[in-house]
């Protein structure tokens, strides 16, 4: 199994996660729908996870995979809290547009 994974060069993983991360960043920056923004954040996190897992395997060090689990737990918690907030926002504004959030400003 390890050998099979290692047949794919590490550069491909690097490139793939970078593309994935940039898609996430782009989504966060351009989309106004809060659900999609949250999804894009997940995408960024998973890009990092992928990279961590890849390096961990290549270097034979399990610490990276521990970090992946850690990030997954945090991401789950973040999604739960974020969606909870979103539900409340939707109830109040009948919208999930994040540009409306600036009304907290004053």
């Amino acid at each position: 199994m390890l050998e099979i994974i290692k047949t794919v060069p590490i550069e491909y993983y690097l490139l793939y996660s970078t593309v994935l991360f940039c898609i996430g960043v782009f989504g966060v920056l351009t989309r106004r729908n809060a659900i999609i923004v949250l999804m894009c954040v997940e995408l960024m996190l998973n890009a990092v996870n992928l990279l961590l897992a890849a390096f961990s395997t290549y270097l034979g060090d399990a610490q990276g995979q521990i970090m992946v689990f850690f990030i997954m737990v945090v991401a789950a918690a973040e999604a739960a809290v974020g969606l909870g907030i979103l539900v409340m926002i939707y109830r109040n504004t009948k919208s999930t547009d994040i540009s409306l959030l600036d009304r907290l400003r004053n």
Partner: protein, 604 residues
């Protein structure tokens, strides 16, 4: 209770001073250094005390007269709401004054000097809710600053010339000092003395200082603080004796002050103002004596003056107290019947200061006149005698107008008049006794009385340097000359005392209001317009300069810079504020771009 603590501490100091007096008499000066104060380069300053014959003499006056005045104050100030504050200030004053005379170097003297200046300010402005009193306090403080600057400069020159501020070191090196430098030092020290002892041209604060409570006038502005200048010159007699020019200046200033202020005193109608001008005039006589090289006579006059002037001020206070705050002698008259004790002690004080035979002022003044005649000549002596006659005139005028004739105040005042309580009259009686017998401390040689020149011998005792502290002045006059000088001045004084009784016994000669004065008397009643002159010479230009500086340097300069910085920052803030528009996308873009730039700089 406060009064007991305040006066009790003075009594304790007095008793300790008596012990010091015994010890100094038995075994010479006591010197002790408490601790090392500071060192600058080769100059070493110690916090040390020196109690020698001269210091202990001053200490006796300060604590003795001070104690009597404290006791008197218990009665005088009993219904004042600042009773506690008053005794605190008064005790602080005595502390500073003792520091002034007990220090063993010029720096300690300067500490005390400033301390008494501060207390003088606090006590003149004691009733600070009155705007005029506050102004008078400020005036005293500022005029004293002028003198203090002279003293300070004098101290700097002493350091430069002698490399030390300790009396012992300075006086030991006198022989090798540059005479020109010594003259400069003496003149600067004398400027300090002029400020503190209210000599021309720095005398105008003292009459205004009468704004303070009367015990303050007695203690600070008659008996002790104003004599600090005399003490300073006497202490530095070695320096002054080296510089005939400086002595000459001292004598001239003293004589001019004595005559000039005595003339002003003739036309004052405020009971305390008359005494104030009288004090300035007497201080002038002391400086005349110092200028003639008769240091002992000056100290002798300081002593007797402390007795009779404290007596006069306190009995004036008793009059003011009895009249319910009235100070204008035109509204008094006939008080002899209402306040017999005050009348008798005031009479003794007046006779003592006028030179009535065998009272204290008679001896001390006579000594000054004899020295003036011996060292200055007949003209100086004649001028000094004029001031003595003037003294007798204004004092007798005060006495007769206040205590003789008919009462001229309102009906209400007539009911209010009462003799002061015994807590006030007993100190008065003690001072009256001192005013009578005080002259016996230093009776002249030629009269062959007991105690002949006792004080002069005491002060001529050896100091820490093994040389006399205050050398005795040598008067080369024959006994017959001295007798005739004395008889002449005494006869004049007696003549004045008798003549004025007839002049001011009549209603027609009572003092009139200031508006009705004409010609020369108007000028005198307005104190020669010296205050007005100083006002236009110094006060007005200073105020104009302050206004100018306030307008341009402060408001436009300093405030401009400070406000400019403030405005600049808030304008900058307004620019950056636009970045904080609350739009999350902008923040995110900022974050991403920032992070990207960070990575770029790290990796490339």
């Amino acid at each position: 209770m406060v009064g007991i603590i305040g006066a009790g501490s003075l009594l304790a100091s007095f008793l300790l001073t008596v012990m010091c007096l015994n010890q100094v008499g038995a075994s010479g000066p006591i010197q002790s250094t408490l601790y090392h104060f500071m060192s600058i380069d080769r100059l070493s300053l110690d916090f040390g005390f020196l109690v020698d014959q001269l210091s202990v003499w001053m200490m006796m006056i300060i604590t003795g007269v001070g104690f009597l005045i404290h006791v008197y104050s218990i009665g005088y100030m009993h219904d004042d709401e600042g009773f506690y504050k008053f005794f605190a200030y008064l005790n602080l004053f005595v502390f500073s004054m003792l520091l002034l005379v007990m220090g063993d170097n010029f720096l300690m003297l300067f500490f005390g000097w400033e301390g008494v200046g501060l207390c003088s300010y606090l006590l003149i402005g004691f009733w600070y809710t009155n705007r005029d009193y506050g102004t008078a306090a400020r005036k005293a403080f500022i005029m004293n600053r002028v003198g203090d600057l002279g003293l300070l400069l004098g101290m700097f020159f002493i350091i430069k010339t002698f490399g030390s501020l300790a009396y012992k070191d300075v006086f030991a090196q006198l022989a090798g000092a540059d005479p020109a430098m010594v003259t400069v030092i003496c003149l600067l020290l004398f400027v300090g003395a002029m400020g503190k002892s209210a000599q021309i041209p720095l005398y105008t604060w003292l009459p205004d200082a009468m704004a303070g409570p009367t015990p303050v006038s007695a203690l600070i502005h008659a008996a002790t603080m104003v004599t600090a200048g005399v003490y300073l010159v006497t202490r530095c007699n070695g320096l002054f004796s080296m510089s005939p020019d400086a002595m000459h200046v001292v004598a001239i200033v003293g004589l001019v002050t004595a005559v000039f202020t005595a003339i002003i005193g003739l036309r004052q109608n405020d009971i305390k103002k008359v005494l104030a001008y009288s004090t300035v005039s007497q201080l002038g006589l002391m400086f005349l004596s110092l200028g003639m090289g008769a240091y002992v006579s000056a100290m002798f006059h300081v002593t007797t003056h402390a007795f009779f002037k404290a007596l006069l001020f306190l009995s004036a206070g008793s009059v003011i107290h009895g009249m319910g705050g009235e100070q204008d002698i035109r509204n008094m008259g006939g008080l002899r019947k209402y306040m017999p004790v005050t009348f008798w002690v005031f009479l003794i004080g007046t006779f003592a200061i006028s030179g009535f035979p065998l009272l204290s002022g008679f001896f001390s003044k006579d000594e000054i006149f004899a020295n003036t005649y011996a060292h200055g000549g007949a003209i100086w002596w004649a001028m000094a005698s004029v001031s003595a006659v003037l003294t007798a005139v204004y004092m007798c005028r005060l006495l007769y107008v206040t205590f003789f004739g008919e009462f001229r105040g309102t009906e209400e005042q007539r009911h209010h008049i009462h003799e002061s309580p015994s807590v006030m009259t007993i100190p008065l009686m003690v001072l009256a006794v001192l005013s009578v017998v005080g002259g016996l401390l230093n009776t002249p040689h030629f009269m062959h009385l007991p105690g002949s020149q006792w004080m002069a011998h005491w002060l001529a005792g050896n100091g820490v340097n093994g040389t006399p502290i205050v050398p005795m002045a040598e008067v080369h006059l024959s006994a017959s000359t001295e007798w005739s000088l004395m008889s002449f001045t005494t006869a004049l004084a007696l003549l004045v005392i008798v003549a004025l009784y007839f002049v001011y016994g009549k209603v027609a000669n009572l003092p009139v209001s200031d508006q009705k004065q004409t010609g020369f008397t108007k000028v005198v009643a307005n104190k020669f317009y010296v205050d007005e002159l100083y006002n236009s010479l110094f006060v007005k230009p200073t105020e104009a300069l302050s206004k100018f500086l306030y307008q341009y340097a402060d408001i436009q300069g300093v405030d401009g810079v400070v406000n400019g910085v403030g405005t600049g920052v808030s304008k900058l803030g307004a620019i950056f504020r636009r970045l904080q528009n609350g739009n999350i996308e902008y923040y995110l873009i900022g974050m991403v771009v920032g992070a990207a730039l960070l990575f770029l700089t790290i990796f490339i």
